[in-house]
């Protein structure tokens, strides 16, 4: 009944909502991670087959129909690395933001940035 796909869609919506609705920047970063994880889940679900075994060849008998599709897994390895790199950049920016402005709330930072720009020291 495609329940796993509904879970993926649910996570996608959760991540998107968190990115949009929450004012705390760290929560937005977490929402971004959830969003990307949902997409990874969606891809992996494309690879699943009933009664399939791991796509590792051992022995002489190689019938492709018995293995699950390894291509989405390989693609998602790259996507996970991308997710890690993006999270790294986002968190590095957040650390600098906190050191600079003393807060991680979107509105507080916006008003401090505005006062910064209106009165360049």
């Amino acid at each position: 009944m495609n329940y796993p796909y509904w879970v993926a869609v649910g996570l996608l919506m959760l991540g998107l909502y968190t990115m949009i609705a929450h004012r705390n920047l760290l929560k937005k970063a977490v929402g971004m991670t959830i969003f990307q994880t949902a997409i990874i889940l969606f891809f992996l679900l494309l690879a699943v087959k009933r009664d399939a075994s791991l796509p590792i060849v051992s022995g002489a008998d190689v019938d492709p129909a018995r293995f699950m599709n390894p291509l989405p897994h390989a693609l998602m390895l790259t996507a996970i690395v991308v997710m890690v790199a993006t999270s790294g950049v986002a968190l590095a920016i957040l650390i600098r933001l906190y050191a600079r402005y003393g807060s991680l709330e979107e509105d507080v930072i916006a008003e401090r940035v505005a006062s910064d720009e209106a009165d360049p020291a």
């Binding site: 590792i56 390895l77 690395v81 790294g88 968190l91 590095a92 650390i95 600098r96 050191a99 600079r100």
Partner: protein, 145 residues
């Protein structure tokens, strides 16, 4: 600033665990061909061993063991190893990243195995260096730029 951990148990355990973990990272790298593993995973484990050292013995142990500009260069050298393996394939007469044409005295099938081993080693170096640098830089208490 991360201080040396107070407990002797933690310090001893980390001291015992680190070489074993690094050996495991090498295993994961070499056996990525036959079982789950490969360059990125091995690099993460390798980087994590250094971070574990910092958590147990204080941040300044990293300054002794790992020189920062050299670490960045090492990371870049790792990825450069990947790119140059691909270029070596070009030099051997194939297209970019064609490992069967590497200038090694083995059969094309074996040459692909070596090609993948080289690139995964490059990836391991790059990822481990990145994690260590991330930990060092982000942990610094730096004032505003």
């Amino acid at each position: 600033m991360i201080e040396r951990h107070a407990s002797v148990v933690v310090q001893t355990f980390v001291r015992v665990l680190t070489p074993l973990a690094q050996l495991f990272a090498l295993y994961v790298l070499a056996f990525g061909h036959y079982s789950p593993g490969g360059g990125f995973q091995a690099g993460v484990i390798l980087g994590a061993t250094y971070i574990l050292l910092a958590l147990a013995f204080g941040r300044d142990i990293l300054d002794r063991k790992v020189n920062q500009p050299v670490c960045v260069a090492l990371g870049a050298a790792g990825v450069l190893l990947y790119a140059l393996t691909g270029v070596a394939g070009m030099a051997g007469g194939g297209t970019f990243l064609d490992y069967s044409r590497l200038p090694l005295p083995v059969t094309p099938v074996r040459a692909r195995y070596f090609g993948i081993l080289f690139i995964e080693t490059g990836v391991t170096l790059g990822v481990a260096a990145t994690l260590i640098i991330l930990f060092c830089r982000l942990g610094e208490q730096e004032s505003n730029r």
